[in-house]
């Protein structure tokens, strides 16, 4: 199963459309979409405008591959699950988000085990073609870096001057 998710803020049809076109051309119906209220015809597929946190985690865990915008919740959860994820950044110029932070994060995340960045629709389809061979990295810990944990713990517990 491939889980396609675009987050709760805005639809992202530029991602959903090529994925559903690809699935139809390949005769696949084992995709689940969380489309955020977009306009793409998803008949024949399991589709939800939004999913709650429990369902989102269940779908992420069940998926062989995840396709998503560069939302940190989805990305971090996939890394925790050791799940391969294809991400395509939203672009401010196309009114898909307010600024280009998704492209900034994508540049930083690109190359990390289990994360596959599609910079446009063509690259997205090319990655979907390879979906069966994409592998997640080893599951990461569910905690922030030890340095950040230690710094915050010491700071919060110290008496305020």
């Amino acid at each position: 199963m491939i889980f396609v998710t675009v987050g709760s803020q805005l639809p992202f049809d530029r991602l959903v459309r090529p994925v559903v076109d690809w699935a139809r051309s390949r005769g696949r119906n084992d995709l689940v979409f969380q489309h955020g209220g977009g306009d793409v015809d998803l008949s024949g597929f399991q589709a939800h405008a939004f999913v709650g946190p429990e369902d989102a985690d269940r779908l992420l865990a069940a998926a062989d591959v995840v396709v998503a915008h560069v939302g940190m919740g989805t990305v971090l959860t996939c890394l925790e699950f050791g799940k391969p994820i294809i991400v395509m950044p939203r672009q401010a110029a196309l009114h898909e988000t307010r600024n280009d932070h998704q492209s900034d994060s994508a540049r930083e995340l690109e190359g990390r085990a289990g994360i596959f960045v599609a910079w446009n629709e063509q690259e997205l389809v090319a990655l979907l073609e390879r979906a069966a061979e994409l592998r997640g990295g080893s599951a990461i810990s569910s905690e922030a870096s030890p340095e950040l944990i230690a710094t915050l713990n010491a700071y919060i517990r110290a008496p305020k001057a």
Binding site: M72, G73, L76, H101, L148, T151, L152
Partner: protein
């Protein structure tokens, strides 16, 4: 149940901000942690610790923003936390502001997604937060272990990843 444990309010929007906030949980060891976010479905994830739902609002919707600010302010006044920490966005920013007025220690952890510059909320938090952290070394000054942070400076001390 020691009454001496400092109370920490950990607050963020749902989605990526929340997943990042949860990755900091161990930093609150030794504290009484109270969680708050914009999705009531997250409550079971922090049980038996307490959870409060706050309204969702972005800075583009004035009326909801005022309602959210009032609700968050009331929560902070009621809880009187010793420390308030947030990974973003709007509700966390308001909680930090109110916490700061009430003498709480305030910590802003800018989202991992802001890899090219601090978020707008993060830049505003710099003015009053006791500690502002970026998750990117090039966006902040290194905070050494035990160093007392200064207001108005963005520091780096690790990331949620």
């Amino acid at each position: 149940m020691s009454a001496r444990r400092p109370r920490v309010l950990a607050i963020s929007s749902r989605g990526g901000h929340w997943v990042q906030l949860r990755r900091l949980a161990r930093a609150f060891e030794g504290c009484e942690t109270v969680w708050a976010s914009t999705d009531a479905a997250l409550a079971p994830r922090v049980a038996p610790e307490r959870f409060f739902k706050v309204p969702e609002a972005s800075r583009w919707d004035r009326i909801r923003l005022v309602w959210m600010a009032l609700r968050v302010a009331w929560l902070v006044i009621r809880l009187r936390p010793a420390a308030v920490i947030s990974t973003g966005a709007a509700p966390g920013y308001i909680a930090l502001r109110v916490g700061s007025l009430l003498g709480a220690r305030t910590v802003w952890v800018d989202s991992f997604a802001n890899a090219a510059e601090l978020s707008l909320s993060g830049r505003k938090a710099l003015a009053f937060a006791d500690l502002t952290l970026t998750q990117w070394p090039r966006l902040g000054q290194r905070l050494a272990a035990g160093e007392a942070p200064k207001r108005g400076i963005a520091y780096y001390a690790g990331s949620v990843l």
